[in-house]
Symmetry: C2
């Protein structure tokens, strides 16, 4: 057929450019799209996604990839490009078009039913639509194929290479340790919120977030920040990375931490190697590893005393009246309140992972068809009580709180905790490998950390699966030890207690 | 082959959605794109355009269109959709891929050469690159096919249905009349600029332009205004129309008239009929007719005394100090200064069309290969002197001033004057058909004009060729009479002189 690598590369570039167009249309949808254009934009996105899918499953691309997989003369990066794209294509090819359409339709209906169920605060209104989505996702998992554990086939879509057999023991250890830790911390007096009841000008907040972006080394000539209802990171290219944040007068920490979080994602995207641009390697190897960057910056760095040693005085210059009398100890305790609660998205970094483990355990049962859906709310509530000691008073506070399942996103939740675990391991390695890292941070110097992450993680792109990359950088793969050790040290000191 | 109209419609929608994605990427390029992403964006646009082209020339689309052209049962709108798309496709199919590539390359080089030539202020630096573009455009025109007049084949790309044989006598009459009119007006004392030397806060200018948009009936829930270096109208859909303007402290009329101008285009885009959305009918039938809307609003309305009867007092509320002592007569004369000059984009509405006629005449010669390129600057300068009585001191002030030829845009210039001619005819019809139009306008009521244009022009979409649509609305086709009559009345009164 006369295959050449440049011809294959051109197909890769075309797919990346199409992804970029989808990224732009999605970003615009959440930032600047006029109100009446929402249906038009959904149609445009659907067309672009269908085109992407069509180019991906094109048999001629399959032939070119098969040819390239057999070539001896390719560089290791070229071989990795072929491997990554072939993996994406193989999964796409395995799902019949009728199933893709049925899933899209079922997800659309499930979103509507989920919203109605939330209005009524009753899971029963959502249950039939969820059952349909779940049945189709099971069918899809079987179409992808798996070695007995169906959940693996869905997890693969978010966390390539990760398996239930590897993940369950780690998350089980996290759960058991956190249940004990939360029990101890929840018994201590809750530290006061030193910012409560004050108002912070949103334009000043905006300028402060821009200063943070600059200090973290986000390149504003290769990206930008805008406002949206839900903060996210998107864009079209490593030189065009788009962050959003949101600003509330009463909650200045919301914009601060959403900017730091999204900037963590954004630095990953900006850090891909120029030689990987417009190829499958300009991509994180997993959602968990991507999330590790946002959580490393948001929690490990952004909620640390070292970070605020520099930034609290600066923050005070923006808001002198509101920060009068606020001292470092009280401020850092405010940032790190541990408090068992019902809602995942409001959870602190200790209790958060129990919310995730709960969802992971229920997903395993649901995907295996081992839990009848009408028992789901009860199982949810029972586990909330067991893990966090709190019980939802209705389904809105419980099983209806997340949109993910209506979207059919089974297998996604564990990537959040993987992010926390990888973040702790990577940060520990950074401290060990970069002399004076935290001392510099206390003086406002964040670039050594960014540069280390860029070299060790970002610039590697998708050369290796996530866990292999973490192992290469830290000397070990997925572990709960670094994360639990980090929590014990940090919260032991903050709450002046010895943690189990 | 089992063709159906819904299947063909889906292809039409896909093409429109792809155009929308191109529109978004282009808008973003001029508004929010980070600086370092310009090459990445050019690549993304090139990929999207190549995909659009590929889908357009797809032989299966050709078969479906041929099938549909033979169907009796289609509605007249469906037949028009088939006709418009088949016309676009037929032209695209006629140009060999090698010629498309050669043209893109030659235009790229010509742009570079044009910029270098402007630096050196010498046409000779641009001449070889221009010769190449011109040769390829001639080749392309012959590939399109024509009945002897090669220019017709290029004009067709901007002004479908218009022909040199129809256009030349009209433009000749415009030229002869304007040369006389300009001679008389240029001999009168030039009215003073009542805003000269004052500074106008750009944020206040911005708010004033938003108020203008609102008053003109631009739907800001189906569109938006942003800032860019060069004002333009773009967008992705009739419910997502994007205008831009620019703000200079010293020239408040720049933002005012660029907003009014682009809003004229934007109202056209917003005015397409919902049943035409995502079909070839949601499109103006020609660039000249599109331009008629921007020029009708900018010049005929926006520079009229009636319009400012309402808006000057309002403008004064925004800028009381700057407008102190400025009265209506002096203000309207400032908006309508006639002054022969060298630069098209700075020309007033009387002299402007002589700049266009000059270019049209030279283009006719160039495309026919009847003027050696080294004689072009001299021809330019001689005609400037003959038509406007001014002579460029070098090529930068002359033949190098426009980017269009470097882009290969031969056939584009006459659409500007067609816009002025159609605007005058349409406005005359509006005044005749809408009782109290100008009296209402003097009270700030612009919606009757918008609604008339929407019903008569915008909502018709691409059902008819431009001149047929104008004939349907006004009772006659292209004519110089309405425009020349409008100029004579307006400038005769303003300059207190009887115009030839």
């Amino acid at each position: 057929m006369g295959h050449t690598f440049p011809a294959l590369l051109q197909r890769m570039q075309e797919l990346k450019d199409l992804s970029g167009a989808i990224g732009l249309a999605t970003w615009d949808q959440e930032t600047y799209l006029p109100k009446k254009a929402s249906e038009a934009r959904a149609q445009q996105l659907s067309t672009l996604q269908a085109l992407y899918h069509e180019r991906l499953v094109d048999p001629r691309l399959g032939e070119a990839l098969a040819w390239a997989a057999g070539q001896e003369g390719l560089t290791s990066d070229e071989r990795a490009m072929v491997r990554v794209l072939a993996h994406e294509r193989d999964r796409a090819v395995k799902v019949p078009a009728a199933l893709v359409r049925a899933l899209a339709e079922a997800q659309g209906k499930a979103l509507v039913a989920w919203r109605e169920a939330r209005e009524a605060r009753r899971f029963a209104h959502f249950q039939p639509a969820l059952a349909r989505v779940l049945a189709l996702r099971r069918e899809q998992a079987d179409a992808y194929g798996h070695a007995g554990e169906r959940y693996d086939a869905l997890l693969e879509g978010y966390e390539p290479g990760m398996r239930v057999a590897r993940l369950t023991p780690v998350l089980g250890a996290v759960r058991d340790a956190l249940v004990e830790m939360v029990r101890v911390l929840a018994a201590r007096p809750r530290p006061p919120d030193v910012l409560e009841g004050k108002s912070f000008d949103v334009e000043a907040q905006w300028r402060f977030t821009l200063e943070l972006l600059e200090a973290m080394g986000f390149d504003t000539e290769a990206g930008r920040q805008d406002r949206s209802i839900h903060p996210f990171t998107g864009g079209t290219h490593p030189l065009d990375v788009r962050l959003t944040t949101r600003l509330f007068p009463e909650y200045p920490l919301s914009s601060v931490f959403s900017t730091i979080h999204e900037c963590g994602h954004g630095l990953y995207e900006q850090g891909f190697a120029p030689e990987h641009y417009r190829t499958p390697l300009a991509s994180a190897p997993s959602m968990g590893l991507h999330e590790s960057q946002s959580r490393l910056w948001e929690n490990v760095v952004g909620r640390s005393r070292a970070f605020w040693s520099h930034w609290l005085p600066r923050f005070r210059e923006y808001f002198p009246a509101q920060l009068e009398g606020v001292e470092m100890d009280g401020f850092v305790r405010t940032l790190n309140q541990v408090h068992p609660s019902l809602v995942r998205v409001e959870a602190d970094e200790v209790t958060y992972n129990l919310h995730i483990v709960l969802r992971y355990e229920l997903e395993l049962l649901l995907v295996a068809d081992a839990l009848p859906l009408d028992a789901l709310p009860g199982e949810w509530n029972a586990r909330m009580e067991r893990y966090l000691g709190v019980r939802p008073k209705d389904d809105l506070e419980g099983v209806l709180q997340d949109i993910h399942w209506a979207w059919g996103e089974f297998g996604y939740f564990p990537t959040y905790t993987l992010g926390n675990l990888y973040a702790a391991s990577l940060y520990r390695a950074a401290v060990a490998q970069v002399p004076g890292l935290e001392e510099g941070m206390a003086l406002g110097n964040l670039l050594p950390l960014r540069d280390w992450l860029r070299a060790k993680v970002h610039a590697q792109g998708y050369r290796l699966p996530a866990e292999d990359l973490v192992r290469q950088v830290t000397g070990h793969g997925l572990t709960d030890a670094d994360f639990l050790g980090y929590l014990r040290r940090k919260y032991g000191a903050l709450y002046e207690v010895s943690l189990p």
